[in-house]
Subunit: 424 residues, 4 copies
């Protein structure tokens, strides 16, 4: 069973969903909650929690200001809000409990830019905690993740764990924009063991996946083709047709050769250009992403995609600008930590099935933190916490079974405790 | 020299540019002007001037209402405006002057949906008659055309012309949407000789082209591809990719074989689809046009384009809907009328060069009226009236040399007069 | 009626069809015939008739040697054959008849590399003069052209024409390979009036087209893509796929924008690459041609085609070599000569219809000679001589109505005679 | 160390390389060798070894006859050769040794249609056993495979193995053409344990891979596009362009979506069409292959490829014929047999490293036999026998280290022996 205070907290966060880099209310609320519940040794907030120029996908000033205002209206602490201005959201909470390993826990806190269902049977509607922000929704369970982060801190504070615990409340996961800015901060440098978690993922309540793998490295690219317009009837030969360049690029992006080293992906998720039927199109753009089972494979896709885009532009005498967007590397969960999580998960109340491994098959910027830790000799593990979710991830009827918040806290806290004992 | 009243009128129309089917102020202003200047025998306005269900490209009710309001605010007569509601713009003015041939003159009156230059050197800025409607502009000289129509009526009313003159103030030429609705009306049925005109066309002030030819028949097509979205990382194989279908279609539309019978054109003027980089695109659309030197050639392009669109959809397992938009046939100027215009043009004040023939190389829905007249045994001729224009047609710095308004009136009125005398 | 000796000559040439640069027997036979019939002032044969390094599309030595042997076996004069070795075929015959203009007549003499019909109803079969060379055929009437050239020389030799007549027996028209080599020779330099002719062209026996126009300028291109092979199952990513490059090029070649200045053409007539289903293709090539209503339009197509080919190669990381093949410019028939031909054609026995103008719609390397003459101030005219032909040009059942040989001789000789009188 | 007689045998086979279904000398030589070395209980040869109508990729009669003659000239037994006429090559040798399991061993015997290196440093040149057949070579080690098959039979005949051993000398592996014809024969029906092997695969001499997996299922497709030719200058619109259809197909074949269930492949290994630069191409064809990590994935690729081919043909108004060529399923090595092989391999003389598993990453028609055995309840295992090979598989300088023949015999015979003891 999950602590009723934590359920209230999760529901409050659910009511105020804030997309990437707009988590003003969310960050303030987390900070207040921590200050009231846990005797922390350090709490790094906003600009102190991330490396500012490593943040990716930060919206423009007007958008940030609008959400900042909204957070103020929702009653967030003014002083705290001031620290977060300009999209400096997120926090790192530190608990020092004597000699021992430094364990990190990363939880993400942002919402999605989509409308929540108003179906009376949808639990947040029935129970009165549906999103109060039009066009935004916690449709991927990060409200529960933030809650678990707080619960774990509280539980470890009360335990006899020896060592240091750092919880990374990370913004902007949905745009793979925040992981890097925390991975590049000094806070990660001394972390020996990193845990991360996700709720749901098509696993039911009561099921724990000890080690998630199969993260695809991912990168976003935006290609803008600039040609010259012309009258399509009068002087087609005077045009430099950006839509033809775009079409040639789309066809050849999808046909980048498959790679023997593992899975690759490419998608021209948005492709658009032109202004009117009787004008040779002057501008077009492709918003694409490439992925790979390893970061090398993703780089192979990226490099080849750039070559395709460039030649398609040349073919139709267009100029091309490519803007590299956000990205995230691949990562794997280390056997040693997976074993520990698998061991302790079985002891958590309500957990009735533990899977050793499963593949995500998608992308996640927790991988930035995992790799950072692994590269300086530490271990990392990404844990799946099953929850019955009526709608799929990212859909209007997504919701979590709140019992799983407790399962997550117990499993993660159990693992931290065990790490402290087994790996001094 | 152009009558200063007519210059004022042209500048007033220039200040209030109204795109296709939104010519509420323009129509009202023309009607008022005619009523004050000419003793007409009949004046058919709005729904009486066109066949309602033959209008193509009419915008939605909200858009029409907004422009209707704007016309009211600009001071158009309320009673007249009431007649025009719902996009029933345009007028046909009739002058009966005894026994003789029925001569038609068609002038178009709509503006373009584009912003006008605010360069202080741009004459409408310098002289204070720049467009007052944001995002709209008389960038193709139809303000001068409407003015010439009124000038011709006035001149013929004062002449000893014997016969009937009908002036068609036609809406919606820019979307090739209005020509058919006038060509199918009863007003065209008894027209023996039809004149139409265009100002500019890269000919300088003082030059008249007696007979314009080379109109390309044109048709618009809108193709909508519907597939299925899927997670681009997790399940690319579950998608049915509408952007891939669109790209295959674009590439193969432009490669429809050239035709030995004459010029053809195709343009995918707008091509757009998809929603986000990590989602396999579910929807895409192409807004295309096909043209041909003859209507048959345009039909060849249309038929082949449909086959390409259909197979591109099938190739990527998408559904397809094709909506046929507006069109216009090709047409030619008849030798007999061209000779008359060539003869009289030389006598007009300020005209110093007369060309027999030139090719438009674009499309025009005046061709609907020309063909209608020719099909019932009449003759038609499309006249070019040179004007120095600083910017190209459809650009932000287009403007006309107002002296050419007088050249147009004199040439057209001269031709009508001659028709009355030579062809009783 | 055509002279029976000339009919025999035409049938002998028909029996021994020789494709481009292989016209050994044909040249020898023409030379012998001229020597026996006409008292020439000069006869330039083989290397003296053309500029050797301007010959295009000359086959390799083995191919030339095989046809040279065949000509010897067919009974051609050994001494003459020796002069022609290495594909130096063709001849220029000169008749000097005192003061007066220099008139040129160009006739082409090569056959096509295709099998002739063996249908018993096919006249050459029925009358016993079917092709004796397997895989070669006079399927475009050049046997009749050569015969007309000889007939005209004979007729003018017997007339009171004052001036000089040069007849150019041109090799290799079918590969647009011989025209340039004669146009660059000194023989063309003093030609004031050039006539050329073609039989058939879908005009019936008894019809003459005084001036043919609408020659499309043409150029051949061969593009070779070189990538890298790889095992298609094991290491597709190691390939650099030449067939993908080829396919991207083909798609985008056909979609080069149409041009407002006139007709253009492009064709990827041969496209081939790859070696086996399980190998990523290493090599591919495209044999393409571009055409234009003017030479400028052809150059526009050529330039754009090269850009497409280059970018397609880059897109798939392949190397590219482009070899420019044969070409021919466009040309027009001059009014003054067209008038003369139209005038005299009506007087020819058996000619019952004279058309002023018609368009070829294809290409011809006579245009090289026509332009050369026009560029140094002379006039040129390409004449069509109607003939009933049962099968289309280039098909297995093509044949000419031999009566039209006489029509051609009379019309051309009549025109030369008239030029001598009218334009001293 | 490998038996010197076996080395001589391998070298004799190497001298007489025979590609798929042409293994006349090879089959005869194997039969003679078996008859002289082993006391077999049955020997099924040619038509008795395979199911005739399940053979795929059999060449035409003339090609077969030419190789049959060559085998006779090389000294193969006339009576045996008579049995093999028409491409009925291959053999199944049976040794019955009392009660016990039936174990099968499959070895392939065909060569490749490629020239062998004549570099003096290439061992077959230096040692005098280079290929005597121009354009054919044992470039994948099947000469060693056949030799191992004989060696294993001899070894088991001398052992105290209880059970039945069947060795399948399979023709036509290189065209994935022979596996099915043996898998569908009665000989496979009672096989309880099937072993297969391959030498090399980038593993060095002394290394054994106990269980090879990662066979990609594969299928060949030949698509023929038929359109209509036309004169590329005169009437491009009359063509139905098979090369355009082919190019559209190639582009879209390579862009079939990647699949989340595992690796897929597609290759348009040969793509060719058209006849001449000035003719719109009438015919074109694509020789393609599709692969998948599972047979289902291969079927997904096949189905989608057919849709792409069909729509590409329709897009350019062409007819399409698709011929399904040879194929092979995927397969896996069973754990139980892998363990046995791993166990015994370490005991073989000269083997110093044993890997449990490795992936082939290519295709193999041994999978037909493996699946057949597995489907009726048996177990199968594909063993890799390391050998130092100077050139890569399928290259001109491929060769085997003959020591590995002994490693293969010992490992396989050891495994058979163990199966007889452990699994009675």
């Amino acid at each position: 069973m999950t602590d009723t205070d934590l359920v209230s907290l999760r529901r409050d966060l659910h009511r105020k969903p804030e997309p990437a880099w707009r988590e003003f209310y969310t960050t303030a609320r987390i900070v207040e909650e921590l200050q009231s519940r846990v005797d922390l040794d350090a709490l790094h907030v906003g600009p102190d929690a991330t490396v500012a120029d490593q943040r990716m996908g930060v919206p423009d000033a007007a958008e940030l200001a609008a959400w900042h205002d909204r957070a103020r209206e929702a009653g967030a602490d003014e002083e705290l809000l001031a620290e977060l201005e300009g999209g400096h959201t997120g926090a790192v909470a530190v608990l020092e409990r004597g000699e021992g390993p430094t364990v990190g826990l990363r939880v993400d806190i942002d919402a999605l830019p989509r409308e929540e269902s108003d179906d009376p049977d949808h639990a947040p509607v029935a129970e009165g905690f549906r999103s109060e922000h039009e066009g935004a929704m916690h449709a991927c369970g990060h409200d529960a993740h933030a809650t678990i982060g707080i619960g774990v801190l509280q539980r470890i504070a009360e335990s006899d764990f020896a060592g240091t615990l750092k919880v990374f409340f990370q913004p902007a996961e949905e745009v793979i924009g925040g992981g890097k800015s925390m991975a590049k901060s000094e806070h990660i440098e001394d972390v020996d063991y990193l845990l991360a978690l996700h709720i749901g993922l098509d696993h039911p309540t009561g099921e724990i996946v000890a080690g998630i793998d199969g993260f695809l490295a991912v990168r976003h690219l935006e290609a803008t083709f600039s040609g010259a317009s012309a009258h399509a009837g009068g002087h087609p030969e005077q045009g430099r047709n950006a839509v033809q360049a775009m079409a040639a690029a789309v066809q050849n992006l999808y046909s980048i050769p498959r790679h023997n080293d593992g899975a690759t992906r490419v998608n021209a998720g948005v492709a658009e250009g032109g202004s009117a039927p009787n004008v040779i199109p002057e501008e077009a753009r492709i918003l694409a992403e490439v992925r790979g089972e390893t970061t090398d494979l993703m780089e192979y896709m990226h490099e080849t995609a750039e070559r395709v885009l460039r030649s398609a532009a040349e073919m139709h005498d267009c100029d091309l600008e490519i803007e590299i967007g956000a990205d995230a590397p691949s990562a794997t969960s280390d056997d040693e930590l997976v074993s520990i999580v698998a061991d302790v998960a079985g002891d958590a109340n309500g957990v009735d099935r533990v899977l050793e491994r499963d593949a995500l098959g998608g992308s996640e910027d927790a991988t930035y933190l995992m790799r950072e830790v692994q590269q300086h000799g530490g271990l990392a593990c990404y844990v799946g916490v099953g929850t019955d979710h009526p709608g799929g991830h990212h859909t209007a009827t997504f919701d979590v079974d709140e019992a799983s918040i407790g399962h997550g806290i117990e499993t993660i806290a159990g693992a931290i405790d065990r790490i402290g004992r087994d790996r001094p």
